[in-house]
């Protein structure tokens, strides 16, 4: 369970853009169409096979739809549990890479050095989604949240919250406030 520190409040929560989820749902939909159309085609073109094995064909249809149902929720889980949480104290990145590989990263605003965005391709440009990369200090390295909606707005929000946080908290003199450009 994700838990916050005392006096920590969530300011924004971001998930991936809906379009990658739509592609997953569309693939599942195509699978369902194939499962429904295949027995109809068998019935039309090989009627003797359909008559002989109709019970087995219906049984396999149901199993195939059950498998697609499971894949549907795998896609939804992957989408829903990948989340960026911007609180007034830190950034929390939760990413699910497959069902058994989960990364939860917490970055204090003090450690954020740079925030950059990347929008590559026709569809991301048209639907306004892309990657937001956080460059953090020291050994923490770089964190990328992929396919996030309105990446430039998210970047602006992070920089604004970071600057507010640094102006109200004591920090190292070398850490300069990032300008939102």
């Amino acid at each position: 369970m994700i838990s916050l520190q005392a006096n920590e409040h969530i300011l924004f929560m971001h998930r991936r853009h809906w379009f990658p989820l739509f592609l997953v749902l569309f693939r599942i939909f195509l699978g369902v169409v194939v499962v429904i159309v295949a027995p109809i085609l068998i019935r039309i073109f090989i009627p003797e096979l359909f008559i002989q094995y109709s019970q087995f064909i219906y049984f396999m249809m149901l199993l195939a739809i059950q498998a697609l149902w499971t894949f549907l929720f795998l896609g939804i889980t992957d989408y829903y549990l990948d989340v960026w949480i911007i609180t007034d104290a830190r950034l929390i990145l939760v990413e699910l890479n497959g069902l058994f590989h989960r990364t939860v990263t917490s970055i204090d605003y003090v450690n954020i050095q740079d925030v950059s965005t990347r929008i590559v391709g026709l569809i991301p440009t048209f639907f306004h989604y892309g990657d937001v990369t956080i460059q953090s200090a020291g050994t923490f390295g770089e964190f990328t949240f992929k396919e996030i909606a309105h990446p430039n707005d998210v970047r602006e929000k992070i920089l604004k919250v970071r600057n507010e946080y640094l102006s109200t908290h004591e920090h190292h003199p070398a850490e300069q406030s990032l300008r939102s450009t």
Binding site: I2, I65, L74, L99
Partner: protein, 77 residues
């Protein structure tokens, strides 16, 4: 047709159907447990939508299990 006949000759539908049933049910059951675990443990306590998604998924798996079990019975008799 020939391939299916030879496959049926090796296993028979009364073996083939339970085999596919077992594979799909085990696959779904394992994923249902893992997905419910993820939704229960890696979302916020107040996130009702996460609970709804995991419950809908589990309800679907149970319904499909019951449906395919009913369709499996003729192959077992």
């Amino acid at each position: 047709m020939d391939y299916f006949d030879s496959l049926q000759g090796i296993m028979g539908l009364e073996l083939l159907a339970p085999f596919f049933f077992g594979v799909v049910q085990i696959f779904s059951l394992v994923l249902a447990i893992v997905i419910r675990y993820h939704f229960r443990h890696f979302s916020f306590a107040h996130d009702q939508r996460a609970k709804v998604i995991s419950n809908v998924f589990l309800a679907g798996v149970i319904a499909f299990f019951a449906g395919s079990l009913i369709l499996l019975i003729p192959f077992l008799l």
